[in-house]
Symmetry: C2
Amino acid sequence: MSHAINDEALDTIFRAARTNRHWQDKPVSPALLMAIYDLMRWGPTSGNCCPARIVFVVSEEAKEKLRPHLDATNVHKTMSAPATAILAYDLDFARFMPKLNAALADAFADPQLARVTALRNASLQGGYFIIAARALGLDCGPMSGFDNDGVDRAFFAGTDVKSNFLCNLGYGDLSHLRPRAERLSFDEACRID
Amino acid sequence: MSHAINDEALDTIFRAARTNRHWQDKPVSPALLMAIYDLMRWGPTSGNCCPARIVFVVSEEAKEKLRPHLDATNVHKTMSAPATAILAYDLDFARFMPKLNAALADAFADPQLARVTALRNASLQGGYFIIAARALGLDCGPMSGFDNDGVDRAFFAGTDVKSNFLCNLGYGDLSHLRPRAERLSFDEACRID
């Protein structure tokens, strides 16, 4: 059993955190990007399959490779962000199972099982990613509005890696925040049986 | 911009947290189960679609409904846990969009888009769920080893809700922890472009 974390930390990772679309002119260092992964990688996945793959888009050249595949409403906020993570998954994640969990080395041979396992668990890891970035003091701007096939051709050609979602990273300009959207109540989303 | 959370909190939610299979004889209150949802619901989803649905299996009757659908290796750890969450998603999540994001009320009409959006975002919310439970001092035991169709018939008959994964909840008996499995290095999973 561990101890609950304090209220200020709960605010940082959940209650006060907001999706950001406007950014301060303040870079995010490679060391900080690596620190996000160094936290999120400890989160659990099915059989420890760890299918998430991440490209951090930082250089001007990489940003220009990403630009044509963004939905129009996502161009400005992405091009002005200090970094954009492409959260992806490797359909051939099983090649690492001898290292990650040797007992399950052959458990994901069925392509349909591999596909749904990759999407489910890489998305779970996407949740860990967003919380880890916030825990390190960053603001996030996750997005699904882009051309997945185009991003895959531009960044993952010749591999089995497929893009899942994008997440801008930086220090938000809070003066531009929209009013917070509603969430479902406990009774709308949950029950105790 | 928010402040980074402290090292002890990072340990609690990521670095020292472990998947538990053995439980102390200590209940988890309904108020604490509701507190998990009250934190995780603030995590971002695509267009604020919030597709995750959760059944907390606590009563003996509900546990017996779950038992026949568990893989053999998951029976003991689940039946001995104080609570088991069925993390699920509503394929008809769009019915709440007028409340959640009225501008996107009709954006998920395509069933294939709705299905992948539900799986991606409910899994992302599953990541928030695990972190929220740990942040409140609970230990988690997430699992994919069960008969999804059987669980759906037993708990979600007559609805569009589909089970995604299970997560045991309680206070772990740390004397039974296995050695920690490896994770991928930064260079195996990530790159900076």
